[in-house]
Amino acid sequence: MVTPLLGDPGGAVPPLPEHLRDTGLYGDWDHKVVAAENLPYAPQYPLWSDGAAKSRWVHLPPGTWIDGTDADAWQFPVGTRVWKEFRFGDAPAETRFIERTPDGWRYASYAWKADGTDAVLAPARGILNSVTIGEGVRHAIPSRTDCTACHEAGPTPMLSLSALQLSPDRDPGAPHAEQLPAGAVDLDALVARGLVRGMPDHVMQRAPRIDASTPTSRAALGYLHANCGMCHNGTGPMASLDFSLRYALAGPGAPRTDALFTTLGARSHFKVSGQPDQVDRIHPGRPDLSVLVTRMASRHPVLQMPPLGTRLVDEDAVALLRRWIADDLRR
């Protein structure tokens, strides 16, 4: 039974549990068996997390469902809980937790002990240097404000629970594509169980997918959607940048793809130090002149994109983006 974290209806929201075992993820903590009512899922375009192996679960309170009226911004009921475990090697390093309370969404991270016997609530400022993930590189557990930086920059805090990300039409070319875990729910399963309701016809009739002319383009646009679109979109606090990489499952007759319209030949406000010939976000046919690629390929604190959440460059994705720009985006 999932521990009721929210307390009595109308009462104060209890504080975040100090231990992961008290968040309701596990039915059997001693054997690390996840409770059956927490549904595993895996987005088709995973977020790059320095190569961590990830597992995700969602819990919806009994009798509730996701409002899928806006296919690009699902609305989740109060009581929704989501967990995401990060593993480097054999051991879990961190499990992140998001919950919708009556007072709003809240975010937490649980840092695992090296022996795997416990995972304790990380301080609000995060943990700068936790487990080793590479040569001289340690995993950073984010601060709560870093959680909100990504999760509250768009139309919904749930970034990988969406019609596109859970579509059964999974992109085989997605960088770091994950196998569906045993018992995973996808869009069809959620609809069949009545856990997503109200979706528009065009999403119900055909499994959502990125509309692209080549497999490379499909994979690149999907990657940008998942790794950048949470901040770079047309509706959140960064809309004023006019730089949207979020893919919209628009209905019939929808106009252009924002990711191309706002990047291809578009001037970059950010200037790369010492590289005056890099002026466009994406320069047609020239990844070497594209600020987007330059920033993705860096982990220099001023230059890097994304600005938080990873310590290592996603080399596979950088190669994909270079190929996409060189081959598919020539003018």
């Binding site: 240097n129 404000t145 870093d146 930086a149 990504c150 004023s240 130090s273 001023v302």
Partner: protein
């Protein structure tokens, strides 16, 4: 962490002899006390239902007093304030390295605790603000606290406050705000810590005992406010906050004038001048933070530069939204989710200001003259 090179420039650079004034007792007629009785102000606050201690807690925590008056400790998780020593100033037992010789343009150095500061004034140490009777403010009156801030002198009439204490900005706080801060400071745990006396700069002459010391220049005249502007006029409220908090102390370049450092008013709030060279990090052993007249700062993070806060569309905040400004201070990231803001920008403190205050600050910043000035990118530490 309101880092400045020298806020009380007229005192520091008028004469090195003034350092000797630290040791000379001075009396000032009671009638010269600045401001009205804070007790009356505190009573008025309470009568209105406002709790001065709660208000003072808000002002002190969001005003970044902890950044200098609570020692910073550095561990595996980066620097964080040692709250077991909250607001108790420079730890008495902490050995401080000898005053360094700094390469130009660097003028000041702070220890990694940010509690001992070295510069042309010699070396100063942040005060114990806790209500310990022997070593803190336990025997002070609210009026003495207010007069200290208003006059830049210990207890209002004693030795000058030394840099980097931003009293010349803080003196613009209204009576009620200063009285509230004092009320809060009197309520926090008393910590016994006898902060060392300031150390004069090397070679400073000290007058023989009893010999008269010329008085320092008086601070600029000020019509002190009894109460702070309300949010009914956000721009006025924002101007009050920006002035009293002292944003200009870091975000406005200074030059050395005949009486010491002076703001370059034509560049108000426009940050580090793009025309100035990017200085190298002095990276001296034992010192944690370096500062200069033009607002560049160096430390373990590399070299950072104060931002252009004017509403220039290309180089300042002109294209920013109000929400991006709030998110910047709340998240400590450029526009709320970009690169991290670097020290000494005290965003963890300022981010505790409520929405109304942050919006008022942004509203005021939209009204200052736009200055086109592309502040350089921060310089990462060597090896990054």
């Amino acid at each position: 962490m309101n880092m400045t090179v020298s806020r009380s420039g007229t005192i520091v650079f008028g004469s090195a002899v003034l350092i000797g004034a630290v040791l000379v007792a001075r009396t000032i007629p009671l009638g010269a006390a600045v401001g009205r009785t804070p007790l009356a102000t505190t009573v008025a606050l309470q009568a209105s239902g406002a709790d001065p201690v709660a208000r003072g807690a808000y002002l002190v925590k969001s005003g970044a007093c902890n950044d200098c008056h609570t020692p910073l400790k550095t561990g595996d998780n980066g620097p964080e304030p040692d709250m077991t020593r909250m607001l108790s100033g420079h730890p008495a037992e902490l050995a401080v390295p000898a005053v360094p010789t700094l390469p130009a343009p660097w003028l000041s150095a702070a220890t990694s605790t940010l509690t001992a500061w070295s510069g042309p004034w010699g070396r100063s140490h942040t005060a114990n603000l806790t209500p310990d009777r022997e070593t803190g403010l336990g025997t002070w009156t609210a009026q003495q606290f207010i007069d200290t801030i208003r006059n830049g002198k210990h207890q209002g009439t004693g030795r000058p406050l030394l840099p980097p204490m931003p009293w010349e900005a803080f003196r613009h706080y209204a009576d009620e705000d200063l009285a509230s801060m004092f009320a809060y400071l009197q309520s926090i745990p008393a910590i016994r810590n006898k902060v060392p006396e300031p150390v004069p700069p090397p070679g400073a002459p000290v007058p023989p005992p009893g010999e008269a010391v010329p008085p320092p220049d008086a601070p600029a005249p000020l019509t002190a406010l009894r109460t702070a502007p309300t949010h009914g006029d956000p721009v006025a409220r924002g101007k009050y906050l920006v002035t009293a908090i002292g944003c200009g102390d870091c975000h406005t370049p200074m030059t050395m004038g005949p009486k010491g450092p002076a703001y370059v008013m034509s560049r108000m709030l426009s940050g580090y001048p793009s025309s100035s060279p990017v200085p190298a990090n002095p990276a001296l052993q034992g010192w944690g933070e370096f500062g200069a007249l033009e607002p560049a700062f160096a430390g373990a993070w590399g070299v950072s530069f104060a931002a252009n806060l004017t509403p220039d569309a290309e180089t300042g905040l002109g294209a920013w939204t109000e929400q991006q400004f709030l998110d910047t201070l709340r998240n400590g990231r450029h526009q709320g989710r970009g690169r991290q803001l670097l020290p000494p920008m005290p965003w963890p403190a300022f981010g505790q200001k409520d929405d109304a205050d942050l919006k008022a600050i942004f509203a005021y910043l939209r009204t200052v003259p736009a200055v086109r000035n592309k502040v350089p990118d921060p310089v990462a530490p060597a090896g990054k």
